[in-house]
């Protein structure tokens, strides 16, 4: 049945499945003060592409980088390619290129404001193909990121890791892009 639906339409499962855009896969609240947060069971065969959001993020430090690693943390030492643009509160905006590097920065720590955010689209993490991503992050400082992982690996999890200090509070949300 074509969208938009009208009064009296009898909807099937196929209609409903086709009408949703972003579908919430998982919500994971930060507990304690971990140095890293691994979102388990984030990716599966249900969706191909995902949006991962971190909201109301608070940290024990301010202005240090937060890395994103596919899978569980502390595994990869290379194969990350991409570029980040750093947007400080004041001073010079600069770009950093990653070539066959360890997991790359995706955000800055933002202490005490409870308003740090991460928003990253991750493409095909569960497929046995290259995984790529593009994202933005904000708070006291901002960051724009794009990159890819240069080998064919299937992932079910993603990890966000403070390079200095810890998370204090906040929540991560994983949405799947419904492609019909």
């Amino acid at each position: 049945m074509p969208f938009p639906f009208t009064n009296g339409d009898v909807l099937t499962a196929a209609d409903l499945n086709a009408s949703s855009g972003l579908v919430l896969v998982k919500s994971q609240t930060i507990t304690g003060t971990p140095t890293s947060v691994t979102i388990t069971d984030a990716f599966s065969s249900t969706f191909t592409n995902y949006r991962v959001m971190g909201v109301n993020l608070d940290y024990s430090t301010t202005g240090d980088e937060v890395d994103m690693e596919l899978g569980t943390g502390g595994v990869h030492a290379s194969l990350y390619y991409g570029v980040i643009s750093r947007y400080p509160f004041s001073g010079t905006i600069n770009d950093v290129q990653y070539t066959n590097a360890a997991p790359m920065a995706i955000s800055y720590t933002n202490g005490s404001i409870n308003a740090g955010i991460v928003c990253v689209d991750i493409y095909a993490p569960y497929l046995s193909s290259f995984t790529s991503w593009a994202g933005t992050a904000g708070g006291i400082r901002g960051m724009r990121v794009n990159g890819f992982f240069n080998t064919s690996t299937s992932f079910t999890a993603v990890t966000f890791e403070c390079t200095v200090g810890t998370f204090v509070s906040g929540k991560f949300l994983v949405y799947g892009y419904n492609d019909g």
Partner: protein, 57 residues
């Protein structure tokens, strides 16, 4: 520009307080994980002093 040292990083997050969250589970970092995590940040540029003051709720 100042850089993070091992001593400075260990003062911010001592080993006995370092944990990882995996799903809903909190897991203490092993010594090996901790040392690797600290080593990655040694030499990283410290945040500049021009950050704004922390917000007051």
């Amino acid at each position: 520009m100042a850089e993070w040292t091992r001593e400075g990083l260990e003062a911010v997050t001592p080993f006995d307080s370092a944990t990882r969250q995996i799903g809903d589970e909190i897991v203490p970092m092993t010594r090996e994980e901790y040392d690797a995590w600290i080593a990655r940040a040694v030499g990283q540029e410290k945040p500049a002093d021009d950050d704004p003051p922390e917000a007051t709720p």
